[in-house]
């Protein structure tokens, strides 16, 4: 595990979801709920097996866009705190890819903020995945 860092960050190594949850809960005693989303590498995609996925990012711009996304989500959903972590490099089935922890006074804002965040991340943050299968590797063209 890498140490807890920025609340919007990109890293190679695994993240500690339990530690992120504890950290965000410690942000304020006004927090009434935290929604935690963790995206995981599947071993099957679009009709074929997946042996690994390579995640590539645009250093500098990806971090900046994650940070902007965090600020936008906090403002839009009145979140008390928000953590977004995305991993890059080579990941195997079962590995964690992305973590989003959204904390709010009430559950509706936490659910909505978390859901919006992962949707926007998939549209605007310059990260790409290349899926490796037994019969070759392919860059994904669209995001499911």
């Amino acid at each position: 595990m890498e140490p807890l860092g920025d609340k919007a960050r990109i890293q190679q190594g695994p993240f500690d979801a339990a530690a992120e949850l504890e950290r965000i809960k410690a942000a304020s005693t006004r927090i009434g709920g935290v929604v935690l989303f963790v995206g995981v590498v599947r071993d099957f995609s679009q009709g074929h097996g997946v042996t690994k996925i390579l995640f590539e990012h645009f250093p500098g711009m990806a971090e900046a866009k994650l940070s902007e996304l965090r600020e936008a989500a906090i403002g839009r959903f009145d979140l008390i705190d928000l953590v977004i972590v995305h991993r890059v490099g080579e990941l195997a089935p079962g590995d964690d890819i992305v973590l989003i922890a959204a904390a709010a006074e009430h559950r509706a804002a936490a659910f909505d903020g978390c859901s919006w965040c992962i949707d926007e991340l998939k549209k605007a943050v310059p990260i790409w995945k290349k899926e490796h299968a037994p019969d070759g590797a392919v860059w994904l063209e669209a995001h499911p």
Binding site: H86, W128, H143
Partner: protein, 84 residues
């Protein structure tokens, strides 16, 4: 003027390089001019470089075809993002 062009993911593999510096004589080139120039230079990738799905960032902010480029700008070209 010099423009640094960077490529990512599938486009990086197709262009066979991560980046290059283009010297330009045009007074006020736009992102659209740059894409046209690159497509003319590499006909095999013409459809991709002119296509509507390609994303462009100038100095790490998303930019449209009519964005004017200045000396020293960094232009990144990449396919639709697929993170998450």
């Amino acid at each position: 003027m010099n423009i640094t062009v960077r490529y990512f993911a599938l486009l990086r593999e197709r262009m066979g390089r991560e980046s290059e510096v283009l010297s330009w004589d045009d007074a006020e080139p736009t992102v659209g001019h740059l894409r046209g120039h690159l497509a003319d230079r590499a006909p095999a990738h013409d459809a991709f470089l002119r296509g509507g799905t390609l994303l462009v960032a100038v100095n790490r902010e998303y930019a449209a075809a009519d964005t004017v480029l200045r000396d020293g700008d960094e232009v990144a070209l990449f396919p639709p993002v697929t993170g998450g």
